[in-house]
């Protein structure tokens, strides 16, 4: 593998993955604390009709109508779940399951109509992502990394995801106090005058947008994994929110690089010819990280809990 193929093939894919996973992991911290981890799952299924509708209306595979359709569908799903839960007095998980599966079914039916008009819309790319198709054709050597002309040809996915990460980081930074108090104690937050409902809706909409931005590149499964696994692993290791957020970002980066490397080069090392699915592998690595944290966490891990309390002998 030459440096040039690395720069052209692997670097853009890695960057896209890194930005996507870190953005998801950042927001995931609050989802895990709020017991809304499955929102990523719900949103990732619910966007299907939006994607197909955006595609049908624009009559092309152009990106922005699909992006708009997916975002509208994601926000619709979030709002509908909330409405069904409150007005139908239905448990949150049931409301999610009902709303997203109906929307997904609608997407499947719509897709069949799209197939009728002889256009190819691959639903699986939403599920699995097209990480391997993100190419940066400009670089000729290491010098290209600081060459503005070459950098300006960075694939659109990488740029979009960098923006998504920056927006999430900015939002979390600005509303840190609000997010923190509404995540840990929503009723206290309401008594103190923090708009818990508005913060929640804002977070959900941000989750929807980040998820949609990440689907195209890394696929919905990895998005769901990244909303939960890094934050969950970090939660096993610390009681401080700031530390937890930093750890989750680190875990997201480790999983991305580790998973990508294993998928792209692992089979070659084992003497196989083809690489494996990168997004799936990254999800698996993040799951392994979570598993390790669950077992070996210093205070909350399984081993630490099994150990009898330290007895001071005098």
């Amino acid at each position: 593998m030459s440096l040039q193929t690395f720069l052209q093939l692997d670097l853009p894919a890695l960057l896209a993955t890194l930005f996507a996973t870190m953005a998801c992991a950042l927001l995931g911290n609050f989802l895990v604390l709020r017991r809304q981890s499955l929102m990523g799952d719900a949103v990732s299924h619910a966007v299907l009709p939006g994607i197909v509708a955006g595609f049908l209306i624009a009559d092309s595979r152009a990106t922005w109508p699909i992006f708009v359709g997916a975002t509208v569908a994601a926000i619709t799903a979030v709002v509908l779940i909330d409405l069904v839960r409150r007005f139908g007095r239905v448990e949150a998980g049931t409301a999610m399951g009902v709303v997203f599966s109906i929307m997904f079914a609608g997407g499947v039916v719509l897709m069949e109509q799209a197939a009728a008009s002889n256009v190819d819309l691959d639903a699986e790319c939403v599920l699995y992502g097209q990480l391997e198709d993100i190419l940066w054709l400009a670089p000729t050597g290491l010098a290209s990394l600081i060459d503005p002309v070459a950098l300006s040809q960075m694939p659109r996915e990488v740029v979009t995801l960098a923006v998504a990460l920056a927006v999430s980081a900015l939002a979390v930074g600005l509303f840190w106090k609000e997010l923190k108090i509404t995540s840990f104690d929503p009723s206290l937050a309401t008594t103190l005058g923090f708009p818990a409902g508005a913060v929640n809706l804002g977070l959900m909409i941000l989750v929807g947008i980040v998820a949609v931005a990440a689907f195209e590149a890394v696929g919905s499964i990895l998005v769901i994994a990244m909303f939960i696994c890094p934050a969950g692993a970090a939660r096993m290791l610390t009681d401080r929110l700031a530390t937890q957020v930093r750890l989750s970002l680190l875990f997201a980066a480790v999983s991305s690089i580790g998973g990508y490397t294993l998928a792209a080069f692992g089979p070659l090392w084992l003497g196989m010819e083809h690489s494996l699915a990168a997004s799936g592998m990254i999800a698996v690595v993040s799951g392994v990280v979570l598993g390790l944290a669950i077992v070996f966490g210093p205070r909350h891990g399984l081993l630490a809990r099994r150990r009898p309390a330290v007895v001071v002998e005098g």
Partner: protein, 452 residues
């Protein structure tokens, strides 16, 4: 929208519709319809308990978790020299992976600080990611089997064979029988697990059995409607049935019925209309049933709830009006049936025009006032009711003020008749008290004794 318009829907003829609905629409159609109808019954039955146990998303987790099992079973079968694509092998792998997924969620939620939903999401995505890696490996083998395996994700109802339908029928019967046998245990665990635990029931084992039934239905349904839509068939009919009743056995029956209707109608539509994929249509039919239930169910539906709330508010307001009229006529020393303008009632100043109409119509429809317009003239029934209301209100007021030391302003037990609750001796003393204060209401609203 040109693409949609250009697709040109062909409507089936009436005889075709009748033939399909009567299961005469050809061998394949009949097999599919019978199969998914039975699947709907089984899914609705197990879904009832999953929804009541707040485990709706567990079925989602489980169905995603089956994917690596399917892939690994295929690889194992090929390695052993067997036919990898055989359905029992793949479904066996799916069931094992589903059970492992459930066990991991259970373990994480029980033994760590992570909440159950995080455990479910983690298992769902990591297992599915693993499944995807395995599938991408199978793809590199070049056997062309990956197409056959990935159809589990979206399902392929049309490909259902008579043998599949028989399998589904057997499973549906098994699930229903198991549910009937364990009905008492399931009910206990659904509604009061702590009580069940204290009573010595093996709650964990019953829970696992319940989830086991969901696994069975999920695995059987994978091929029919796909792993994402089977969870819809488990959750939606049960969630819809919940709006209609508070009785568990009735809810189970309704959920099974909704599941059956979704399967039957969905499969029929799919057979009759071009480009209506059965899996999606079945779920949309279930979704329509859910939306109808959400709004129109008499028990817990949104409209019934709003109607109840509106009626309650009208009843309370009507009581205010009756008491207001009583006090007005009492103050003037006039008989109760004297017309009183609504302007004389202080609280009526805040009424909006539609609300005023609604309140007056309500009073009139109940036969409490002679005409639904101001000034208000009480009918004889209205006069009697006004007296009862005022008397009850004042008795309570006096009781709370004297015996319970609650500020009279907080007393608002309008609907309760004091003499039904309070001891007759206390009522008699309170009446004496009111009479001394000149506040004892007289039937017919006779002039009150002048104070002082």
């Amino acid at each position: 929208m040109t693409s949609l318009g250009g697709s040109g829907i062909t409507w089936p003829s009436v005889p075709e519709v009748v033939a399909v609905l009567l299961l005469q629409g050809g061998y394949n159609t009949t097999v599919v319809m019978v199969g998914v109808t039975l699947l709907g019954i089984a899914a609705g039955t197990v879904g009832t308990f999953a929804v009541l146990r707040k485990r709706a998303m567990m079925s989602d987790t489980m169905s995603h978790a089956t994917l690596p099992g399917i892939g690994l079973a295929f690889l194992a079968a090929v390695a052993l020299g067997a036919e990898g694509r055989s359905l029992p092998v793949l479904l066996g792998g799916a069931a094992v992976a589903g059970v492992v997924g459930v066990a991991v969620v259970h373990g994480i939620a029980r033994h760590t600080r992570l909440p159950e939903d995080a455990a479910m999401g983690a298992v769902l995505s990591v297992f599915f990611g693993l499944g995807f890696v395995v599938l991408s490996y199978i793809q590199t083998l070049g056997t062309g089997a990956e197409g056959g395996i990935s159809k589990f994700i979206y399902g392929q109802t049309a490909a259902m064979s008579a043998r599949d339908a028989i399998t589904i029928a057997a499973v549906a019967v098994g699930v229903v029988v198991a549910t009937l046998l364990l009905f008492k245990e399931f009910r206990l665990v659904c509604f009061d697990p702590e009580f069940a635990e204290v009573q010595g029931w093996p709650v964990s084992a019953i829970d696992l059995l319940m989830m086991g039934l969901v696994v069975v239905v999920t695995v059987i349904g994978l091929q029919a409607v796909g792993l994402i839509l089977i969870i819809a068939l488990v959750i939606i009919p049960a969630a819809a049935a919940r709006f209609w009743t508070d009785r568990l056995w009735l809810m189970t029956v309704i959920a099974a019925g909704f599941g059956a209707v979704s399967g039957y109608v969905g499969a029929a539509l799919s057979a009759l209309m071009e480009r209506f994929p059965a899996g999606g249509i079945i779920v949309l039919v279930a979704g329509a049933l859910f939306v109808i239930s959400l709004f129109f169910a008499p028990g817990r539906g949104v409209l019934a709830g709003s109607a109840r709330l509106l009626r309650l508010r009208l009843e309370v307001e009507a009581q205010h009006v009756l008491r207001g009229v009583f006090e007005q006529t009492e103050a003037r020393g006039a008989p109760l049936t004297t017309p009183v303008s609504t302007d004389a009632l202080a609280f009526a100043g805040t009424w909006s025009a539609p609300w005023r109409t609604a309140v007056l119509m309500f009073l009139w429809a109940r036969g409490l006032i002679a005409r639904p317009s101001t000034p208000l003239t009480l009918t004889d029934t209205g006069a009697a009711e006004a007296w009862r209301q005022t008397r009850s209100h004042r008795l309570w007021e006096a009781y709370f003020a004297r015996h319970v030391a609650i500020a009279p302003g907080r007393v608002n037990r309008l609907a309760d008749m004091a003499e039904h609750v309070l001891d007759p001796g206390i009522v008699a003393r309170l009446e004496e008290q009111l009479a001394r204060d000149g506040r004892l209401p007289m039937p017919g609203g006779l002039a009150r004794p002048v104070r002082e």
